[in-house]
Every structure is written in C-alpha cells, then in structure tokens.
C-alpha cells in the first residue's frame, strides 16, 4: 500500500466510514511504515482535541451581566422575543391602510364629508322660506300660511317650520324638518314632500345641486 492511499484510509477511518477489509489493510501498512504510524497517531489526537474543544460547554463565556449560564440564556431569550415584530393581527390591520392608499384616502374623505354634513344638518333651526312667488304667503311664528284663494306660482320650500296650505301651490311643496297641514281647499300641482331624515335631506340637496347645474 502506498502512503497517500493510507492517508485517505486514515481519514475515512476517523469518519467511521472505512470498511473492515480496508481497515485491516491500513493496520498492516501502519506496522511497516513509521511515518504513517506517527501521522495516524497525530490525526487521532487532533480529532479528540477538536471534538472536546468544540463540545466543551465549560469554556463557553456567560452572557454579559448574568451570573450563570441559565440566567444568561434567559436574558438572551428575552432579548430575542423582545426583538420580534409585533403580532401579525395588529400588523395586518395597519397593513391594510398601507396596501390600499386610494381606499384609505376615499374613506377619510367620506368621513370628513359626513361629519360636516351631519353637523350642518343639525345646526340650523331658523325658519327658511324660499320660492319664486312669495308675495301672498303669510308667515305667523313658525307657520307658513298660503291663504285660501291665493295661488303661489312655482315651488315653495319651508325649512324648520310648519306649512299650512289653504290655497293653491302651482309647483312643488317641500317641507324640511317640519310638518304640513293641508286644508280641504288646498291644491298642490307639483309634488308634496316632507323631508325629516338626514339621508332624504342629502338626496334632496344632491338632486337640487344637479338640477341646478342642469339649468
């Protein structure tokens, strides 16, 4: 056997991977070759030293500020758990905003619109009468009266008050946040609407704006 083959066998032997036949061959060679015998002894010791040096826990330094290995590893696990990102549930909630900026902007916009709209709706309690022909309309307190025999040409809108109709309204009668009282002689050519709900009011405002644009 040549020495270079013997060296390969030595390593395989130390890896526990040398078959019995080859092990016997190696032993025969070592008996006759001093250089290989020395090398094999050195390799076996290197192996033992390396193994004990690597696996010996007594030479492991203890974490800073801790008295024992146990305390040191507790400290390290605390540090690890503390460094983890916050639980995914919380993260996904904020992630939704980050991933959909357009929807977020739209939602904020709608929210602002709604708040200003609702505050507007609740605010004014003054009586407002509007229409194209208000000459013959009589106002008593918060009541808007269209006397008998009188004709109002066009629409009549009453906000925050009562409408008492005894005569004739040629257009629409719209009452917002109030009530309507119709006498037997009353005649409304157009629509008669009462708006008390915020959403109705919104719809009314929107259609009014749109028809305003159309005109």
């Amino acid at each position: 056997m040549k020495c270079n083959v013997a060296i390969l066998y030595m390593h395989d032997y130390l890896d526990d991977e040398l078959p019995a036949v080859q092990t016997a061959e190696l032993k025969t060679h070592l008996q006759s070759c001093e250089a290989c015998k020395l090398r094999f002894e050195q390799l076996k010791r290197t192996e033992a030293f390396a193994m004990s040096a690597l696996s010996d826990t007594s030479t492991l330094p203890i974490a800073a500020g801790a008295a024992t290995h146990e305390a040191g590893s507790d400290r390290l696990s605390e540090r690890i758990m503390g460094a983890l990102p916050t639980p995914s549930r919380k993260r996904s909630w904020t992630r939704m905003f980050r991933n959909h900026p357009a929807i977020t902007v739209a939602a904020v916009f709608v929210l602002l619109m709604m708040t200003s709209f609702f505050s507007m709706w609740g605010q004014d309690t003054e009586l407002v009468v509007s229409g194209t022909d208000l000459q013959h309309v009589v106002i008593e307190g918060d009541t808007v009266i269209v006397p008998e025999g009188v004709q109002v040409n066009g629409n009549l809108t009453v906000e925050n008050g009562k409408a008492d109709i005894q005569g004739e309204v040629a257009g629409d009668l719209i009452v917002i946040d109030g009530s309507t009282q119709l006498a037997s002689t009353a005649k409304i050519i157009g629509q008669n609407r009462e708006i008390n709900q915020a959403l109705d009011w919104l719809w009314y405002k929107v259609t009014q704006t749109v028809s305003g644009f159309a005109n």
């Binding site: 991977e17 290197t46 030293f49 690597l54 030479t59 330094p61 696990s77």
Partner: protein
C-alpha cells in the same frame, strides 16, 4: 408523524408567541454554542443567535417540512456566522502580530469579557493551543467541523445543512483535520 418543531412553527405562524418562545428555548443554547465556536466572540455569537431567530420568524411560512427543522435552523445560523467571518478584515489573522502593538498577537486584543482570569485559568496550555488553532481554521472547514463535532451530525446531515454533496463535506473535514494537525504538531 409531524415533528414537534413543525407543529410549533405552525402555531407560531398563526401568531402564537408562546409557541415561538418554545422554539427559541429548544434551539437557543445549541445555536449560541455553535455561533461562539464559529466566531470566538460572545457578543457576535449572541447577535447571530438573535438574527437567526428573527430570520426564522420572518420566514416561517417558507419552512419546507420535508427538511428537518434542525437542518433548516442550523443552515441559517451557519450562513450568518460565515457571513460575519468573511466580513472581518480580509487577511486578518489572530496569529499575526500587530505592527501597532509590538509583541501582542490577536488573542490579547480580543474583547476582554472573553478573557476573564477565571476562564484563562480553566484552560490548560494544551486547550489554549487547540482553541487558538481552531480560531485560525478557514470558515469553510470550521463550519463542517463545528456541525460534525458540536452537534454530532452525520456527514450526510452536515451536507444537508450546508447544502453541498457528502463528498465535499468529507474533503473539507479531511483538510480541516490536517490543517489542525499541522497547527498542533507541537503539542501532539
């Protein structure tokens, strides 16, 4: 049969922090020991352990259950350790005498918390020589030897962790062993 780690990983994925803490408990000491043997520095070893778990946590959903959990976590820790070793000043050797500090070798310049009088006294002259020789092992040999001797992995398993064929593992192990033998010739 699904391993306990795989089960814990699945729970941790659903946001169970306690399950992840269990995984940390199972592997933390092994990883610390391994990283310390690779780097020879307590602070860096702790950083590698923390980085390993952060990476595991981040990639839990990508954990492939056909691979052993230990193989996966050792692979991450080994790669992080090798990265750190490579980032150190190129050609920097602990054995090289520093020109600025006459007569001092790299060992005397190691962070002092790793060189307490107690730990010095615990080490025999031979052990110290062995540790010094270990510190000079090139990273590719060192990772193979650490996995093989510290975790008692088979050559096959070492190959899986390092993602290389068994023949390469063997070659590196043999070269590393020979490297150490030459370094230690004086005390053998």
């Amino acid at each position: 049969m699904i391993s306990i780690e795989a089960r814990l990983a699945r729970m941790a994925l659903k946001g169970d922090q306690q399950a992840f803490a269990e995984i940390v408990g199972l592997y933390q000491d092994k990883l610390y020991h391994m990283a310390y043997r690779m780097l020879g520095n307590r602070q860096e070893a702790e950083d590698v352990v923390q980085d390993t778990f952060l990476r595991v946590h981040k990639n839990l959903e990508r954990y492939d259950q056909s691979m052993k959990f230990s193989t996966w976590i050792y692979r991450i820790a080994t790669n992080l350790s090798i990265d750190r070793l490579r980032k150190r000043r190129p050609g920097y050797s602990l054995d090289a005498e520093s020109s600025e500090h006459e007569g001092l070798d790299g060992y005397s310049m190691l962070p002092s918390d790793d060189r307490t009088p107690e730990s010095e006294a615990l080490l025999s002259e031979t052990q110290r020589t062995v540790h010094q020789a270990m510190a000079t092992l090139p990273p590719k040999y060192k990772s193979v030897m650490v996995l093989r001797y510290l975790h008692e992995l088979s050559l096959q398993e070492v190959g899986e962790v390092l993602d290389m064929p068994v023949t390469t593992v063997k070659t590196r192990l043999h070269r590393g062993r020979d490297f150490l033998r030459k370094k230690l010739e004086r005390v053998l």
